[in-house]
Point group: C2
């Protein structure tokens, strides 16, 4: 039986997926480089130096320009990039300072590296804001080896004042990682402007790539530490185990890049669309969590009315996913109805109008 | 300009690539699951527990049966699997004992984990055999925390006596990793029969998958150590950073699996084909390195006559790759002519006949 994704053609609002849908060029690259070690045809020993296909140009020129960094490399994804930096710059037992909205993989990567994480708390329900001014007292108290900010976080789509944190990190000379898994490839973001030491992006989350693949940018001064070479194999990066994404996800990242670079220029339209959509859903009694006005396509809603329905129907929380799917919409994580995340990034305003109408119809059907 | 692989349709003899060419089912899965986080549609938090697509069944049932192990998981590739085991079972400063034919990534993974590697030497030119009996004195001398055997190695395609090493490892109670990146998916191999503690395979190298993706099998007794969960996120594997191959390479691995399972049953035909091909090239004055009679499709040849030609032509070593490409053959790493590796795995006997004729024609052309 062939492996199928039945909802592939639906309107997609799943935050994990809206920034990772392939461009036409990426779909071609996917087929062209589908076979195993397809990118290694002309390899001379180092993935990021391969000139055919043009990986070197992408990694050494296009990516640093795009990320606003001095040196870039390819990783298996954002979490793997975080581990690489943590494992290179901190030692077991060290502490790192992270935002209270950090992705779970920040904690798991730190645990894998033997590090303690100190969290800067968020403001709690309903906005869950991270106040950058709270970093400084915690820096003084814990002397962290690294600072990390999730920009935006994947739960509420909040965008804290990263630039201010960059200034604080510089003042205390603590390396600062900007986890931009939901930023890089969606919105303009520059490591240099934010004054971060590292910037991390996710190809499959936000750069129109097959999964998994990530990007890691850094200041030149960290190159020797993070991209240190093996003593026995002098051209091989220790933290990359030689080469990371030796296959097709990297080629889709490269193929999509021109479109991705272009699309971040239209970020203001994305934000306006998200705000309009959020306001329309709030008219239905939904409550948008996170910052208001919202500045990202990732939106988290509470839906008390849908939750009430889920308590009295046979499918429980799954009723919402089923009702939406029947209406041509793929959105909330199947099973969730009380609160769920949606992303307006991939849908146009007309499609979002259909989504709003669908929610209205579902509420009416069960009222 | 679209990204192209111009030699995609040629007869492929490149050892990195012959076992990773996609099956028809994998080509379909590639397109179906090309978008970003495509496998996460119905995720409940753990990649290897996803039932739609049927990842759980593959990882928890099909793979352990196939590998002859008790517990299996998915990794980004063989090198990442080696690092996971090393990082879980040994501490910085510990020593591990590996074969002299180990892949470079074994050394780099050990270095990343802070481990010293002790090498069991091979016998040198021309056979480069690893004698398993040499492990025991080195075990006594160094008390290694892990033993690793490359089976076969990627330079000569030698198959040392893995089962004997399994007995020795058991006798000394030292965990034993079988790196089967060139075995799993090509030839029958069972962790249990070999008495290893871990077995590692590569999807893109030998299991007809897009790259990168790997498999890691282990004894049940290592599950708690290697697949230990995060203290903060109790369903997330620390060493996997939650989930590893969250995308299309995993789906090609699953899609190809029925064919891969079937093809290993024809390994005797593969060995016969490799031996015949090797004998034919030796008639041309090439010298096959590694074990004789050879028991794997990965063959390493010295070609003194081609080397002599390369010294007097403008393209140097690249002349060979160009001459072969013109004849519809993709094989030795571009630039190599003095000695090079070829794999007979993906070509049939008729195609290999064309390859032999091509080498004859090239030798004649420059004689």
């Amino acid at each position: 039986m062939p492996l199928r994704r039945e909802h592939k053609e639906l309107i997609n609002l799943m935050p994990l997926q809206t920034g990772g849908m392939l461009t036409e060029a990426a779909k071609e690259a996917l087929v062209e480089f589908g076979d195993g070690y397809s990118v290694c045809d002309f390899c001379q020993g180092v993935l990021c130096n391969i000139t055919n296909p043009p990986i070197r140009d992408f990694v050494q020129k296009l990516l640093p320009q795009f990320l606003g960094c001095e040196v870039a490399t390819i990783t298996h994804g954002a979490r793997e990039a975080k581990f690489i930096v943590m494992h290179s710059l901190a030692n077991p037992g060290d502490s790192i300072l992270v935002d209270g909205n950090r992705h779970y993989t920040t904690a798991v990567a730190a645990e894998r590296a033997g590090l303690n994480i100190i969290e800067v708390p968020h403001s709690g329900h309903p906005e869950f804001r991270v106040n950058i001014e709270e970093y400084e007292p915690l820096i003084k108290k814990h002397a962290p080896k690294l600072i990390l900010l999730t920009y935006p976080d994947g739960n509420y789509g909040n965008l804290p004042d990263a630039r201010r944190l960059g200034e604080i990190a510089q003042e205390y000379s603590i390396p600062f990682i900007l986890n931009g898994a939901y930023a890089v490839g969606r919105m303009p973001v520059s490591m240099e402007e934010i004054k971060a030491d590292f910037i991390i992006g996710s190809g499959h989350k936000s750069m129109a790539s097959a999964g998994p693949v990530g990007v890691l940018g850094m200041k030149k001064k960290w190159e020797e530490t993070v991209l240190r070479k093996s003593t026995r194999h002098s051209n091989k990066d220790i933290e990359l185990l030689g080469c990371t994404v030796r296959g097709v996800p990297l080629m889709t990242l490269i193929a999509s890049f021109p479109k991705v670079k272009e699309r971040v220029q239209h970020w203001d339209e994305q934000v306006a669309k998200a705000q309009w959509f959020s306001a329309e859903l709030e008219k239905l009694g939904f409550i948008q969590l996170g910052e208001k006005p919202h500045r990202h396509d990732l939106l988290h809603f509470e839906a008390p009315a849908l939750y009430e329905i889920s308590k009295r129907v046979r499918e429980r929380g799954y009723f919402l996913y089923k009702e939406l799917r029947e209406r041509g919409i793929w959105g909330p994580q199947p099973g969730l109805a009380r609160s769920f995340k949606l992303s307006t990034f991939a849908a146009d305003k007309q499609q979002l109008g259909l989504v709003i109408d669908a929610f209205k119809a579902i509420l009416n059907k069960y009222s």
